[in-house]
Symmetry: C2
Subunit: 275 residues, 2 copies
Amino acid sequence: MAHPTMVEVRDALIAKPGKPFDLRARDSGDRSLFPGKREARISLKKDAAVINELQDKLYANRDRALLVVLQGMDTAGKSGVIRNVFADTSPLGMQVEAFKAPSKTELAHDYLWRIHDAVPRKGRIGVFDRSHYEDVLVVKVREFAPADVVEQRYEQINSFEKHLTENGVTILKFMLNVGYEEQGIRLQERITEEHKRWKFNPGDLEDRKLWPEFMGAYEAAVQRCSTEHAPWYIVPADSRTRRNAMIARIVRGALEDMDLSWPDPGYKMEDFDFS
Amino acid sequence: MAHPTMVEVRDALIAKPGKPFDLRARDSGDRSLFPGKREARISLKKDAAVINELQDKLYANRDRALLVVLQGMDTAGKSGVIRNVFADTSPLGMQVEAFKAPSKTELAHDYLWRIHDAVPRKGRIGVFDRSHYEDVLVVKVREFAPADVVEQRYEQINSFEKHLTENGVTILKFMLNVGYEEQGIRLQERITEEHKRWKFNPGDLEDRKLWPEFMGAYEAAVQRCSTEHAPWYIVPADSRTRRNAMIARIVRGALEDMDLSWPDPGYKMEDFDFS
């Protein structure tokens, strides 16, 4: 079976800018793009190799950057995406930032200050494991900021992201859409499997209790901040392999759209003496 | 044939702290640790896999970091080491900094300011592609700073590195020792091979003309700054595969010496409700 094209994946997963967005209409277990797991694995492997090649060219040119924003409830698979989609990419060309609760110093600045600081430099692929969207997600749900402050942030974020894209940073935003039931299974694994236990945080269960509130906050964030310049993609995340394969297709597509080539500094060999 | 043990590789390549160091006694083409290229490739592959596993544990514990310092003349293979030794490691656990000529802001501070800022956070493996050693290498050779200022720096660097190791950062320093002749071949490749052309910088030929001066500066830096807490390893770098295999052995060994295990937060499954 042929793999879905980049355009097919993008069209299936995008939250169309300016259109109403209904998160409940998105099935976290949707397998229609990759019915077979084996197909997904093969597609991912191929795309990871091409992403590596294109990243080398991006690095060589150093005039643009790619920023991949990953959001999702706990266990949705942010680390897994990073490891697998960029399995072949040299660490030299990557810049990963995992945002935690802000420090005192960070809180002394506006919420985009630490985000801007972590934007990948030109030539690199940056990944945000959580991001400024936490400032309209957990902050909204837990009322860490007044509602009117959160309300202002959607447009501030759009404006910030527009600024970045106008300055050479391509932005891809992925919501890893894991189902409530699947999350329960994965949280249990974190307790029962020794190598996952360190990831477990009893606080995750507190977030789980607020599942409908979080889904509402995601829906609002996606609805308000899926823009032409920085669209949101809603990725069915109950299947790890398919999730990775879908994201790899879109990342590869974004790099291909950059139409990268090896820069030629115009030197001629006979101009130089290597003896 | 059995692979050389970590101890054998370390003993063969280390510049013994406190002992006179003669760079000319180190053969850039030495293949005695890995006579066969195939053996080197297999060893590297195995070590890269183990480095990944150990890095996961390092990340889970987040109480220590590993800093790998790479120095070498142009074409010695710093990028190749990063790509191959950490081929299996998730970008989430890596932090790579490629130091260029300092910016105006950086020059407004002492030379270790930008270095300290780039030290890997706990849980991560950091790689310095060039480092603070440039401040006693190119700076010395090209006389960007007075001789007595450079002279002071060796002890400042030792003191800085001691501080880091006492605070949980294990430091490994590798001089990728490429031969003059091999460098000539590789610089030519950068002109003739399309995908390498972007790496070529006519300035590299200027450094090449100062080869003996650079070797003298390397010798002094290694002699003065190979310490018990942060030793220098001189890696024969004329063979790319063997170079990578030797470094992977030492990196793996350093991680094994940390005696890492999965942290157990002590939760019991029956304490939690996943429904």
